[in-house]
Assembly symmetry: D3
Homo-oligomer: 132 residues x 6
């Protein structure tokens, strides 16, 4: 029930196919998930988003699994069902254990709770936290 159509490889322009090919090569799988097929209605945006994702999610000062945990946390707070499913699958593929997942859930629940408490009470920021 998308609001836009999904573009399969066979129906794609060469510009879109080039991105799909790079996704497949980078991820070492033929599978292209629906997000990219939907974005493909705007080839420039597809290319831009993929370039950003490839760059941002690559190993760096943070390891790829930690980045997926952060991605899940944002997606939960933003209530993006698709993103929660796709990044939970990605985190598992990158090694997230059941014990780590249980702790991720606990931290997300705790953060939501204190976010709600703090906002209700409008707690002023402590001077000591204003380090910059």
């Amino acid at each position: 029930m998308a609001t836009t159509k999904l573009i399969e490889y066979e129906a794609a322009s060469s510009e879109v196919r080039a991105v799909y090919d790079d996704i497949r090569a980078t991820r070492k799988t033929d599978f292209i998930n629906n997000f990219w097929k939907a974005l493909a209605v705007n080839p420039a945006q597809l290319a831009r988003t993929w370039e950003s994702a490839k760059c941002v999610m690559a190993p760096g000062a943070l390891d790829p699994m930690t980045k997926e945990l952060i991605y899940i946390a944002v997606s939960v707070a933003n209530k993006c069902e698709y993103c929660i499913h796709s990044h939970t699958a990605a985190a598992r593929a990158k090694g997230m254990t059941d014990a780590q997942y249980a702790e991720l859930i606990a931290v997300i629940g705790m953060a939501h709770s204190t976010n709600g408490l703090v906002t209700t009470m409008q707690v002023p920021v402590d001077e000591v936290f204003k380090v910059v």
Copy 2:
């Protein structure tokens, strides 16, 4: 400009002081931040929240700094200014480097972007992600 008063140690009941004492002992610092001082208007909730926080944020399958990064991610998506400041400070205290912080920002920005794109297009969840 809180909507409730902050309770200092000196003015606190023995029930509240017991929690403050445990916060100080656990964190090895005399500093009690405003969140706990605000929560103290409801001593039972103060005790319950501190017990949960102590348990959830302790080292486990995920290390304490990673838990802080997840906490920041939720707090950003939930727009909790106090929580963003306090947990960014906590992450730094637990060893977050400038390079790690720069990548955290990048992942949070990327996640927000794709959350928005996916939600606009109402992309259906791929069957392969439905592992449970």
Copy 3:
């Protein structure tokens, strides 16, 4: 799976029918979408909401299609699936082209991204923006 029942024209009170009749006359179609049928459990609220919608969404200093784009943008950020679908359909009915829709998606994605980046970094508002 609504939490309240939908009231069809045939089962509606005369007060509700009067609103349905005005929706049909204003929109030049017999179709009444589910939102109004759900609101009809509270006839006063149905009437008030329809009056507001008729007034707010009418042509004015902004054209009706632009108003629909703004409506979609809010509904995406608020994660209202029903509203995203109904207002995307409305925008198309009012002339939104595929190219315009692709740009709408891009702007919504960009805005989400910078909203997330700004909130993470708690960027202070520039003095020059404080025009009022």
Copy 4:
């Protein structure tokens, strides 16, 4: 009270200066707003975000002012104070009149209201809206 420092032109690396120079040239003003100065702690992200913004916000199938209205709408629903201020200023600079602004406010208020109503009642999407 940012969580990261702001980098001025004089203190910037040549990589960051190149982006600042392009912002100035594109916008025909010497003014660099705080968002870019904060992003500059991660030069690669600064460059990527500016490239996206330049591309996404350029005139296209939608005119630049309409894009700013959409940007404001998302930023309001996402509660990004900085973004609301900066894009309201941008919309005015691109010709938004007081009458248009008053209507923008009205549409955003209306959308929030019906988002809340629909979500409370969990109104099912009408079949006719499922066009894709």
Copy 5:
């Protein structure tokens, strides 16, 4: 730091003054809070919003204080600082005790927590809850 100016009684048109007069008469106070002064830039919207508020917040099947508690709960989850302050003040004026406020905070915190937990785990709705 509003994005629009506030209109005082003395500077208001007769249309706006009529609404201000009704607010004063209904609330039995000369005080007009900033929300109405900001809305007054669009007199039709001011009148419409006040009429809705007067109607919705009046005593009915729910008492006025309970309505304020619900209003605070929405405003917290929507992160509207102004609304949290104004409706917390209104709830107190309508008789909210410190004990009730402490329980309100606890329920809001609990709800945020389980909202986050449920969303992370994407818990399916039990059949028994689908009563309509």
Copy 6:
């Protein structure tokens, strides 16, 4: 389509069964809803969350039905479909009438609307609301 499995009583550890037994005894029903079955993958969190819920939702300065209305309000603004369904069912079980539900919907809609209006205009908090 949960991201984690649901644990039935028969497959549960004695630690989890003890919580399920207490839920059944407290609620005077054999029914365990999916939320608890999902949480059970982390028995410590299950126990902690149930203890908090039992304590927070018990009769006190606010009656149980009012607490459910507040819970629904938060869940709507946080877009938690499961929570909206489960707490609407709970509110009905605790005596919420159709007339009360219609007014709840109206207040939630009104609050969303003014949250959106206030945030767009960035209305400054009146001095008189700053009581603490």
